[in-house]
Amino acid sequence: MSVVEERADAPAAEQGQAPRTGRQFGPIRWVPRLMVMGALAYVFLYRIPQDDGGAAAIAADACIYAIVGISLNILIGHTGQLSLGHNGFFGIGAFAAAYSLTVRDVPFALTFVIAGLVGALFALVMGLVALRITGLYLALITLVFALTLEESLFEVEWLTNAGGGQPADRPEWLIDDANFFYFCLAFLVVAVYIDYRLLASKTGRALLALKENERVAEAFGINVTAFKLIAFVLSGTLAGVAGALLAYRIGLVTASGLGFNLALTFVLMTVVGGLGSRLGVVLGASLFASLSFLLEETWMHSVQEFLVGLASFGSEGAKANLEQYAVGFLGALGLLLTIVQFPGGIGQQFRAFFDWTFGKPFDVHALLHPQDDGPGAVEGSSVRA
């Protein structure tokens, strides 16, 4: 019975794997794992935030992007609705927070609530559209929706101070970037928990069912309309809150920072991370948030130099300006590789390691044959057209 009990809470995606032996107990096996965990904790909880080279700020970005990734994954990965307009929900959250704080003097904590609500509201509108328009057309309409927001609502003077941008000052205790990183991390933890609960409860099952086959879902008694909207609202709320965090992270929100590129980056990081894989999405988002920093400040600089060095003509003496393209190049390459070669994304690649860290035997098979059977392999590639 206990076996059954233990399996009881297992949500859909993780099961149906090749049977694995259970968790190995015993203190000795845990030593290396604890060491790895300790090292990770040291790096992420102390080393990076206390870094004086600006890593804390980038880490905060990574948390914010990861929240967006989780939000987007709820739509694309769990519900099968391709949204190219997430920059819209994200942006409206950012503006709502900045506006309510700076212009309306709303208390700091309340601005997050407002941002979440506004994000949810806009997502609800898009969700209503998604009830009628599906597949690629939905992708297109969300894209146009976000671009329209960018050029219209985000340029409305009273709300956004038009091109000048709406400032959003952090409270005293958050001005330090390390503190702000911990603050963002707390939000990320909540977002991850929500996503975890989502999949562990009936909502996640309902979303998966309606993603695969709306009629089956209906026959199971799932109100497809309601749950689609729930997915949009949840996703919009998370995106809106992430937007508020971004507003405080930068201190200013402008429309130009919320354009098409951002929309693409969001989709890219989610797909490269591995649709349906929570770990992958967080990793992918962090990677994309910090890529340009990594290319500037770490050993990866040599990669960038190599790429820039390849660029030979049309730009004599201006190679320094080419650095920005290294980010796009690597990101795009990562995306194409993911789609064509590793549909499981980063999450798939890291899963063996992650599983091992938390108690499972190291699964070489999963590492070497990423296309077998992983959640990403199925969910990541079966976004409904």
């Binding site: 009881a8 597949g135 409860s201 009936k202 069912a209 695969e212 009629r215 799932i222 949840l234 059977d373």
Partner: protein, 339 residues
């Protein structure tokens, strides 16, 4: 009082009158059969009854209440459990999760407490799992409990789908060809199972079925559809010898050709509705083309059909319509009406 009562049901798709003047009644604790040649409108009738289609005229009442306009998920919550002709399940989820998904309407907690993770939620989740396990035990499917359903054989899937329908806690069960893809032994077994289910769960059933021995054995009453109209009704033994029914069924076509009518309906139709091309699942590791491919390619279908008829043994054991009535149907509704 009858559990389900259908009055003067009619629906048309474009130029095609798919159903006309259908009257049908299912009483408490009955197993009612719905048979007819392909394209007769059986699945369409199911779809109208369960709310997937809105009939143009006519009414559907459930225990005296008019539920014609209720959407499918409401009907499911009301007690309409149904299966699909070509297996309706969440293919990327495991068997146990499908069974839990099917209990959606009876989950007993709301979305928010699910997200927060209250103690009620975890208790209810445990109960859902226990019930799902009980159903697996009942159907003898514990061995595929944690396997993704996408990889299972067709017969297993049909059985599991029945389990899913049971998991919705139905009052009336609508089964669309529950034996398709099963061999004769499995079919017999299913017949026993249906009778057991009726006894144990006090179920009422409406069954679309080709496998005549099964119909004869389990059904209390049979309706025969042809060209969207009611051709005959009555006790199975009477229907069996009904001249018009025999005429409609016994023709020249080989049984193999008739087996080809295992067309998928759901995906093809969805695709048509959304204007999208057929979507192919891209994971080669998942078998069961019936589930994976919206439109199984010709050869595979034929192979399966041949295998099924070989297993069926003697031809008379399976009363099958021998000839599809020659008729022209607009191409657009092909997917709608393959039953």
């Amino acid at each position: 009082m009858s559990v389900l009562e259908v009055r003067d049901l009619a629906i048309r798709f474009g130029g095609l009158q798919a159903l006309q003047g259908l009257n049908l009644e299912v009483n408490e604790y009955e197993i009612v059969g719905l048979i007819g040649p392909n394209g007769a409108g059986k699945t369409t009738a199911f779809n109208c009854i369960t709310g997937f289609y809105q009939p143009n005229t006519g009414s559907v009442s459930y225990r005296g209440r008019d539920v014609t306009k209720a959407p499918p998920h409401v009907k499911a919550a009301m007690g309409f459990g149904r299966t699909f002709q070509n297996v309706g399940m969440v293919k990327s989820a495991t068997a146990i999760d499908n069974l839990k998904t099917a209990q959606h309407a009876k989950a007993g907690y709301d979305v928010l407490s699910g997200l927060v993770g209250t103690s009620l939620t975890s208790r209810r989740e445990r109960e859902l799992t226990a019930k799902a396990d009980a159903i697996l035990d009942l159907l003898g499917l514990q061995h595929i409990r944690d396997k993704r359903v996408g990889g299972q054989s067709y017969g297993t899937l049909k059985l599991l789908e029945l389990g899913c329908a049971l998991a919705t806690d139905p009052d009336i069960l609508l089964l669309d060809e529950p034996t398709s893809g099963m061999g004769p032994d499995e079919s017999d077994e299913l017949g026993d199972r249906l009778l057991t289910l009726r006894r144990e769960f006090a179920l009422t059933m409406l069954v679309i079925e080709h496998h005549v021995p099964l119909v004869l054995r389990v059904c209390d009453h049979v309706y025969v559809l042809n060209f969207g109209r009611l051709l005959a009704e009555g006790k199975p033994s009477v229907i069996q010898t009904h001249p018009e029914v025999v005429a409609a069924y016994l023709g020249g076509e080989a049984p193999e050709a008739l087996e080809q009518t295992q067309e998928t309906e759901e995906d093809a139709e969805l695709d048509r509705l959304t204007g999208q091309a057929a979507q192919h699942h891209d994971n080669p590791s998942i078998a069961a083309p019936e589930l994976v491919e919206p439109e199984p390619s010709g050869p595979a279908r034929r192979r399966r059909a041949a295998a099924a008829s070989a297993a069926a043994g003697s031809a008379e054991e399976r009363l099958r319509p021998k000839k599809r009535a020659p008729r022209k149907r607009p191409a657009t509704t092909e997917e709608d009406e393959s039953a």
